[in-house]
Amino acid sequence: MSAIVCPERSQGSYRRRRLYWLGFFALLLLPAAGLMLLSGAVELSSLQLLEGLFSYHDDVTRLVVWEIRLPRLIGALLGGVSLALSGTVLQAVLKNPLAAPTTLGIAQGAAFGAALGITCSGLRGTFPTLFGALTGLAGSVMVSLFAFIFSLLTTGVIILLTHLRQSGKESIILAGVALSSLFMAGTTFLQYFADETQLAMIVHWTFGDLARASWPELYLMGFVTVLATGYFFANRRNYNALLAGDDVAQSLGVSVVRLRLTTMSIATLATAVTVTFFGILGFIGLIAPHMARRLVGSNHSYLLPLAAILGALILIFADLAGQLLLDPVALPAGVITSFLGAPVFLLLLFGRRGLERGD
């Protein structure tokens, strides 16, 4: 006896529904981007905005649009996409819904590196022999460099642990928690001995702020994000296969160990670059994949693009909310995303079925 509903046709309508969600949120990006370009310290009308974008007349408007607003928007897009995609693929390869750049300790590693960089650049004057090699570097470059090195170091430790414990991938998150607490202790230690200026710099660095990046940094971020996105999309069916278990994935032709290691390296590299330039933007890598999964299910062909779009949207709205909530004080976007993180975490723990079901 055959079923009444033809599965092929209902599968078609199902696919369309998922594409509608994708289209809807992609379109939502346009007004969000417009809003972001319009808001800021200097009042701009939409006409002025267009003038600033496309003409060469007004110097101030052009400067505001091209050197402040546009980098901020592009930073939000790139940061949101790279963090959300990293979270999604980390959850897939570690088979853990809590896997994300922040829960693996990568962000905390970067924060420690930045704190160390700030402290060291202060010490260069006092101990020229010890830090002689670093005198040529500008302070900000050194801070970024240290942040990047330490986030990669965290990454290395986590990948090593994953490789050593093939069977216990679930415990990697616990290792991440341990690492982040270690790095937080290190940061506190540095803060204790820092002078007031350094302390302020260290604390300020940890607030994830989109206003920090300028064009050269965005080019680098863009390059890494495009590469990472390409790799993740090319492997979308392999991530689906992983959902069926490592053995089954291998029997379907997926080189499981290689996929896991490469994915983790690329995801953490993308995260490291974002965190280095923006500071800690908590929980986007956790929230965006879960929201996307709720809307289109676990098939990575739809999950990846939607998570990327949602990540960008969340970051744009977090930045807008930060500017508008306590106007005229502008809160950094990282504060808002971290506020969002708590309720989503709780929802995850207590409303797990609802958040993760297939449809």
Binding site: A3, Q11, D247, V248, G297, N299, R357
Partner: protein, 253 residues
């Protein structure tokens, strides 16, 4: 395409699990691997699937050594279903499409959709197409996992205890599915099973494994009370009931 293994040995760490076993399994036939827990049945399946590398000896697929095939080529020839299925929030339809992955480099197409639909209809599972795997019962999940392996259009089907967590009706239905597909597609199907009676009902060829070796191998005649008593280490008796052979333990151990 038959499968053959020669002088196959395997050890986990220092512990020898298989010791120079050899066997040739012909296509178009359900082969059942029987033995007590820890006899190395699952290890044998994993060696044949290529997940584990043999310490000694080799596995031949058709005439080619398994180790010479790439992961991708293996996936086109061998389908594997583990004992425990991992549930996820993937839809059944998307899950079945995974079976087409070894045959499509970039993306599955309409032909694959049609194939999956036909398979679901043939197995009378169409009503499950839009459900998430996590919403299925144990029996449904096992059938869907088998359907995924069938969609893969393999030459060799490796099934590790496909009936271990199923009720009687589902056990029979699942075994029926396997036997039908095996004869229809001329597959070399290798199953590990604990239930001797189920094996007697559906299989044509038997591999009895004990103490790291193959105790006996062949058609129905190897399933003698003597062999089985030796295999399970307890006195067994065999009855014929209509067309079916039945094995029961002696009354007093």
């Amino acid at each position: 395409m038959g499968i053959e293994f020669k002088q196959l040995s395997f050890a986990y760490g220092g512990q020898q699990v298989l010791d120079k076993i050899s066997c040739r399994l012909r296509p178009g036939c359900v082969h059942v691997v029987l033995g007590i827990n820890g006899a190395g049945k699952s290890t044998l399946i994993k060696l044949l699937a290529g997940f584990l590398k043999p310490g000694e000896g080799s596995v031949l697929l058709g005439n080619k050594p398994l180790k010479d095939l790439t992961l991708h080529q293996r996936a086109q020839r061998i389908a594997y279903v583990p004992q425990q299925q991992q549930t996820s929030y993937l839809l059944v339809f998307d899950y079945l499409l995974l079976g087409r992955k070894p045959h499509r480099y970039w993306q599955s197409g309409r032909a694959d959709d049609a194939l999956v639909c036909a398979m679901l209809e043939r197995l009378d599972l169409s009503h499950l197409a839009q459900r998430a795997l996590s919403q299925l019962s144990g029996g449904e999940l096992q059938k869907i996992a088998l359907a995924r392996a069938f969609v893969q259009e393999p030459k060799v089907l490796l099934l590790d205890e496909p009936t271990s967590s199923l009720d009687l009706k589902n056990q029979l239905e699942v075994m029926e599915m396997i036997a039908l597909e095996t004869s229809a597609k001329n597959l070399t199907t290798i199953i590990t099973v604990h239930d001797v009676n189920l094996a007697l009902r559906f299989a044509e060829s038997f591999v009895l494994m004990k103490d790291r070796k193959i105790l006996a191998f062949g058609d129905l005649e190897v399933m003698s009370p003597e062999h089985l008593s030796q295999l399970y280490g307890l006195p067994l008796r065999m009855y014929r009931q209509g067309n079916c052979l039945q094995v029961v333990p002696e009354n007093n151990l």
